[in-house]
Amino acid sequence: MIACHGIGKTYGHFQVLRDVNLAIAEGECFALFGPNGSGKTTLLKVLATLERPSTGHFEILGMHGLKDKEAIRANLMFLAHGTHLYDELNARENLAFALALRGHHPTDRDVKRALDRVTIGAFADMKVRHYSAGMKKRLALAKTMLANPKILLLDEPFTALDTAGTEILREYVRERLSDNGTVLLSTHDYDKTRPIASRAGILRHGALQETAIEELQSDDLV
């Protein structure tokens, strides 16, 4: 459950977000469309407690976004554009490190299952430095799967993923939704998003306008 109340954010001279109001219930997947530079990533960063909003406040799972940050972080995963992976570590070590910081200690079997699910099990002992962009994305997805958060924030999840990867991601999102999770994703790709999104909205110059997903035209999504 995510609820934003009048969130605004400014960087230097730029107003990136203005008065964003948004409520996403459990089991819903909200797709955030919008042209480049419209503030999609900033909104996700604010909700991921990485940036402090200049105005307004938000609640995640009923917890205040500025006061209960630590509790929110424990229940939230942010699959960002940068993949949060260390180039010098291999896949297993990356997973072990990232999850250990969050207090999880997955068994080898869990790790193997997750890696197999994103079909990079064969490269488990390879340094991430040598991974392609799509493989990195899959590894980040595997990390998210192991952490299994209630709230999932996805920043342009389909870029760099091939058709099979996209299907794996959508399958995982559906699984989270059926498990009463909440998903917020930003994307440019209407066709890939359509099957999983239950609601949609367009950000323009930092202002959010909610639209029924059926009414969206592809030229809206420039």
């Binding site: 949060h84 260390y86 010098e88 490190f97």
Partner: protein
């Protein structure tokens, strides 16, 4: 217990990364060697003069190599936006800080241990008896440098012109460490009785304690919006 785990994992990660890339320590060591070389060209010294200035040269070299290491410590976190992941770790800012301090301390101390024989050889020092005291001075000063340096490394990594700003912000603040370390090293190298430079060791201990606490507290504000 969780905090201890986080510290351990951070140190482990930094060490494994360093072992595989060998970026930080090698660049620190070679930079320091160049500094030593340039200093020995700049001053033509006999052994008596060397004893007077060697402590200063040593700590200038250590401070600048330390700043290289500290800068690397967080700039490696920028690849793939790993810093964001660290910021989002729940309830572990202090542990991350301590882990980073431990890793930075280990790198800097290691480099100092590697460089010290160079000084001994190149400047003909006789240090056999005072070696334990010198190590104590190195230890205390390096704790201070890494405690406050880690905080400012994390702070400057998120701004523009970070390579310039780290030394600009850090060096005025570590003036006491530099003075105390130079004086204590000089005392130890001259073979003075401990009582003559005890106060500098005390100053280092005070600095270490104060700035570990203050930086531990402030690190939360650096990482957390």
């Amino acid at each position: 217990m969780t905090s201890f785990n986080v510290i351990r994992w951070i140190v482990w990660k930094d060490f494994v990364t360093e072992l595989r890339s060998r970026e930080t320590i090698s660049s620190m060591v070679f930079f320091a060697l160049i500094v030593i070389l340039i200093f020995s060209f700049s001053f033509s010294m006999d052994q008596q003069a060397a004893r007077e200035v060697i402590a200063g040269i040593m700590w200038v070299a250590f401070a600048f190599t330390g700043i290289i290491g500290l800068g690397k410590s967080f700039s490696t976190e920028l690849q793939n936006d790993c810093l964001e992941a660290l910021q989002m770790v729940p309830e572990a800012k202090g542990a991350i800080y301590l882990g980073k301090v431990a890793a930075n301390f280990a790198f800097m101390f290691l480099v100092e241990i590697l460089l010290f024989p160079m000084f001994v050889i190149l400047f003909n020092l006789e240090v056999v008896e005072e070696i334990s005291l010198l190590l104590l001075v190195f230890f205390l000063a390096t704790v201070g440098l890494s405690a406050i340096g880690t905080l400012f490394s994390a702070l400057t990594v998120q701004i523009r012109a970070r390579e310039v700003m780290l030394p600009i912000l850090l060096l005025p603040l570590v003036v006491p460490v530099m003075i105390a370390a130079v004086e204590a090293t000089k005392g130890a190298l001259n073979g003075d009785p401990l009582a003559m430079y005890e106060q500098w060791l005390e100053l280092l201990v005070i600095y270490d304690v104060v700035f570990t606490v203050v930086s531990f507290w402030m690190f939360e504000f650096v990482m957390d919006s």
